[in-house]
Symmetry: C2
Subunit: 421 residues, 2 copies
C-alpha cells in the first residue's frame, strides 16, 4: 500500500464505489435511512467494549509517539463519550429528512410549474485528525443527507475510527443500504489525503476537521470544493451603549466556557468611553477567572494585564488568553474586525439598535451576534441537531454545516405540452 | 500592457478597487441601486449612436479577421438589440432587491434568536466572448445583487463592450455609487484572463460565458469558484405513456425554436413500443422541419434518417441535428442520460406519474422537465427576470443564475446577554 500508484488505484476504487452507493442512497426513503442510523447507534452501544479496546491501542501508540496532553485528550474515549456518540446518532436519526424537501414552488405564465427540491450533493470526503467521534458524526450527517462519505481519519485514531466505522456499516447492512455508503480509507499513508483533494470526478465536497495545518493544506491544494474554516478569530466589541451586566456575562462565557473551540472569543474591543468603567471591570473579571489579558497601551494601566504585541491582533489562541484593545467608536471596531477577523463569528454588546444594525450590516462574518456568547456558534446550538463543521467561505454552506447544508437542489418543471414562444 | 508583470499589477489594482467598491455596494440601499440601473438604461438608449459606431468598428475588424457568420451575428448590434438591452436593464431595476432578505428566522431554547439573511457574494468576475450585451446583463445582475463586477469581454467585441460599459458607469455616477462597482478589463491581452482565474483574494466567483473552449479552460484552471455549464447535452425521452400530440409539440419546439442555445434538445430517446407509431411520427416531423436525424439501427428503417455513429451519443450539436435512439424502457433512458448527459436539462414526455416520478428522482440534472419544452431552461422563463448564465455544478448556484443566485447569506444572532451552558 506504500506505493503511490497503489494508493491512487485504491482511492479511485473507493471513489467509484462511493459514487455508485451515492446513486442508491439519493433515492433511499427517509425511514430506511433512519433505521440505519438507529441500528448504528445500537451497534456502537453494543460494541462499546471493542471500541474501547481499539481506543486503548491508539492511546498506547500515542503515548509511545509522545502526543501532547491535548492530543491525547482529544483521542481518548470513555463510556461517557461513547454515550454522547450514541445520542448523537439517535439525534440525527430523529431529525427531519432534508432530501426531497420542496424549497420553492411557483407557476409561470407560460404554463409551466416549477419546483425547487433538495437533493444530496453526492459524495463527501471528510479528512480529520485525532477525534474518533468525528467518524460517527460525519458518517451520520452524510447518511441523513443522502450522501455517500469517504472518511479519512487521523493515523493516531486509526483503530478507534475503524471500530466505530464497523458499527456504522452494521447499521447500513441492517437497513439494507449499500455498505459503500460509508467507507473508510484503510491506510494511514498520507498520499491518500493528497489523492482525495483532486478526486473531482468522485468527490463533490471535502470537509477538513482539525488544526490550521490540515485545513490550510486542504484549502490550498484541493481541486474539490471545500467546506471549512481555517481559524476562528472571534471578536467581541463592547459598544458605548453596552449593558454592563450583559457585557460581563457574555465576555466571560465567550472566553472561558471552553477555550479550545472555534467560537471562543480571542479579542476584546472596548469603546474608548468605557475604559475607566466597564472595560476595566470586564478585564479584571477575566483576570480573576485566570485569563491572560494582552492589552494595548490604552489599557495597560489596568493591573494584571500583559502588554500586547502586534502579533496579538488576529491571533487565535485557543487557550486562556485574550487580546484587548481600545477603539474610538464602532467604525474603529468594524475596521479592526475587517482587518484581523476570520469571517467566523463576531459579536457586539450594545443596547443601541443603530450600532447593532451597523455592525450587522457592515461586517460579513458567517455569524454576527448581539448580546450573546460567541460560544453559541455551533450547529447543535443553532438547532441543526449536529454539525460536520463550520464554514467561513461564502459559497454554498456557511456557518454551522448540518445535514441540510450537505445538500444541493434541482428544478422539477412540469407542463402540459408547453412550448416556448 | 503586453508585459506579464504589468498585467498582473493591472489586475491586482482592478481587484483591489472592486473589493473596496463591493464593501460600499453591500450596504447600498435598494432605491439607489434601482436608480443606477434606470440611469444606465437611459444612458444606453441616449448613447445608442455611439454604441452602434463602436460596434461597427468591431464588425469591420471581425470581417478582416474572417470571423464566422455565427460569430458575426452574435457580435452585431442593431436598434432592436439595443432596445432589448435597455429593457433588460429596466427589468432588473424593477426586480425585488435580494440583499437583506430574511431567508429563515427562528428562536432557540437558549434564548437566542437567529436570522439567516441574504448578503452579496462580493466580487464577481465575468469572462465572456463576442456577445456585447453580456456587458449590460452581467453588470446589471451583479449591481442588483450588491456585488462588484469585473467584466472581461472578448477581444472581438472590445469597442462595443467599452461603449456599453461607459453607460453603466454613467448610471453608477448618477446614483452616487462607486464607479469601481462595474469595471472592465481595459486590455485585450489574454494574460488578464489567466490572472482573473487565480485572484482568490479579490474575486469570489467567476462566471464564464461562451463556447466549450472558454468554459473548459476556466473550469480546469480557475482557483476561484466557477458558476458554469460546459455543455447542454439535452435529452428528451418519449415514454411508452407519452401523449402523441404533446410529444410532437414539445420535441419540435425543444429542437427547432432556436438550435444554438444550451436548452436545445440534442438527443431523442424513444421507448421501444413507440418505434412504429409515435416515434416514427416525431422523427418524420423533425425531418420535415429540416432537422437532420442521426438514428440508431432500430430507427434506421425510417425514411430520411442518417445512421448515427458512436460519437453522436453525448454530442452537443447546437445545430439543426438531433441524435435518436431506441431504449427498452425508462431504466434504459435513465442509464443513457446518466452516461451521456451533462446534468443541464433533461425531459420526459409521459402521462404516467410513476414514470415521471422515477425520472425526476433518479436523475440529477439541474433541470428536469415533464411534458414541457427544454427551451424553457432559461432565467427569464423561470421568472428570474434575467440570468447571467446556467450552472450545472451542484455547489451554491444551480440552473439559471439570476440576482438571487449571486448572493450568499450570514446568520444574525441576538440575545439578551445569553450564555452557553
Amino acid at each position: 500500500m506504500k506505493d503511490q500508484t497503489d494508493i491512487a488505484a485504491l482511492m479511485a476504487e473507493i471513489g467509484a464505489r462511493a459514487r455508485a452507493a451515492a446513486a442508491e442512497l439519493a433515492v433511499a426513503d427517509p425511514a430506511t435511512k433512519r433505521r440505519a442510523l438507529e441500528a448504528a447507534a445500537d451497534a456502537v452501544w453494543q460494541g462499546r467494549e471493542s471500541i474501547l479496546t481499539a481506543n486503548a491501542e491508539d492511546l498506547a501508540l500515542g503515548r509511545d509517539k509522545g502526543l501532547s496532553a491535548a492530543m491525547m485528550d482529544r483521542l481518548a474515549l470513555d463510556e461517557a463519550r461513547i454515550t454522547a456518540m450514541v445520542e448523537g446518532l439517535r439525534a440525527v436519526a430523529a431529525q427531519e429528512d432534508p432530501v426531497g424537501e420542496v424549497l420553492a414552488e411557483w407557476d409561470q405564465p407560460s404554463g409551466i410549474h416549477i419546483r425547487r427540491v433538495r437533493t444530496p450533493l453526492g459524495v463527501i470526503g471528510v479528512i480529520y485528525e485525532s477525534r474518533p467521534n468525528v467518524t460517527a458524526d460525519a458518517g451520520a450527517l452524510c447518511l441523513k443527507s443522502g450522501n455517500a462519505v469517504i472518511l479519512r481519519g487521523g493515523s493516531e485514531s486509526f483503530h478507534s475510527s475503524g471500530a466505530i466505522h464497523a458499527c456504522l456499516v452494521e447499521g447500513l447492512r441492517a437497513a439494507g443500504l449499500p455498505e459503500d455508503a460509508i467507507q473508510r480509507v484503510p491506510t494511514r499513508d498520507r498520499a491518500a489525503v493528497q489523492e482525495m483533494l483532486t478526486m473531482t470526478d468522485t468527490i463533490d465536497v471535502i470537509v477538513p476537521r482539525g488544526g490550521k495545518g490540515l485545513v490550510g493544506l486542504v484549502q490550498r491544494e484541493a481541486r474539490v470544493p471545500v467546506f471549512a474554516h481555517l481559524e476562528g478569530i472571534v471578536h467581541i466589541y463592547l459598544d458605548a451603549a453596552a449593558d454592563p451586566e450583559k457585557a460581563l456575562r457574555v465576555v466571560l462565557n465567550a472566553k472561558t466556557r471552553r477555550t479550545g473551540i472555534c467560537g471562543a472569543a480571542e479579542c476584546l474591543l472596548i469603546h474608548r468611553d468605557l475604559v475607566e468603567t466597564l472595560g476595566q471591570g470586564v478585564i479584571r473579571a477575566l483576570i480573576d477567572a485566570g485569563v491572560e489579558v494582552r492589552a494595548d497601551e490604552a489599557l495597560s494601566g489596568i493591573d494584571g494585564t500583559v502588554p500586547a504585541s502586534p502579533e496579538d491582533w488576529g491571533c487565535e489562541y485557543l487557550d486562556s488568553i485574550i487580546a484587548a484593545k481600545v477603539v474610538d467608536d464602532i467604525d474603529g471596531a468594524i475596521a479592526h474586525i475587517r482587518r484581523y477577523g476570520s469571517s467566523h463569528t463576531d459579536c457586539i454588546v450594545t443596547e443601541d439598535d443603530a450600532a447593532a444594525g451597523a455592525f450587522f450590516a457592515r461586517l460579513d462574518s458567517a455569524i454576527l451576534m448581539r448580546n450573546a456568547s460567541t460560544q453559541f456558534a455551533d450547529g447543535g446550538e443553532f438547532g441543526m441537531g449536529a454539525e460536520i463543521g463550520i464554514a467561513t467561505g461564502k459559497m454554498h454552506a456557511r456557518g454551522p454545516v448540518g445535514a441540510a447544508q450537505l445538500t444541493s437542489f434541482k428544478y422539477l418543471v412540469e407542463g402540459d405540452g408547453a412550448t416556448r414562444a
